[in-house]
Symmetry: C2
Subunit: 159 residues, 2 copies
Amino acid sequence: MADAVLFEFLHTEMVAELWAHDPDPGPGGQNMNLSVLESVGFRVGQALGERLPREMLAFREELDVLKFLCKDLWLAIFQKQMDSLRTNHQGTYVLQDNSFPLLLPMAAGLQYLEEAPKFLAFTCGLLRGALCTLGIESVVTASVAALPGCKFQVVIQNS
Amino acid sequence: MADAVLFEFLHTEMVAELWAHDPDPGPGGQNMNLSVLESVGFRVGQALGERLPREMLAFREELDVLKFLCKDLWLAIFQKQMDSLRTNHQGTYVLQDNSFPLLLPMAAGLQYLEEAPKFLAFTCGLLRGALCTLGIESVVTASVAALPGCKFQVVIQNS
């Protein structure tokens, strides 16, 4: 009964609660719920970022910051590292997790793919919030090709 | 950057999000928000309860279950034990935590006392959910006399 489980349960139930009162809220309601999750994630990411040791806030290179997220941050939150990090060297990064823990409770299957965004919005916000604390403005989106794997795309703003 | 922090940040932001759109929702709105937190806590508590080793589900005595919550469950969630457990031996238990972690972010001071219920509702639900999985129906309420200490009152139903 580790803490990681507690975080994952709380995340799952927070998602469920948002959709509980209206399981099919339409595109507008869906987007509002996703936006709530993203903003909660953003503030949690900011708070996590603020707890980083000072020396980590002095990263010189953007790529080092992204590597830190993929390795240390992911390990602290999900007890695993991101599986790969790619970049076009023009401010766009693709972070791939082949078995994303927050998607694991969903049964694998194409029919669940449309449910996936609910379980990714919080983490998109969390990445954006952590980057923000580290001085990098970004837009973070996520996509799923095959459950429980997913990709987070980070596009740096004004880089 | 431990997992415990992640859970606490997520809890704090979930509370903040509920009150964000209407900081003063009136008694009705306040109760609805508290009820949402309680029900999210209940389901998390149920889920935690379901992960307990089988032998723990075979507690014979009600008091043993309550001791388990005060010791093992609290330790797993908050990295500390409950400070005291009292009972009237008629189905009412008072669990006291002299420094409840989810209240710590609030500055100590009488003027914040009225904010405290927001930060206790989830945990009331969590206790009720864990007890439910262990086969005990209960009503759980919480009160604060001096921040960051608090008391959870568990009243067993049909005992």
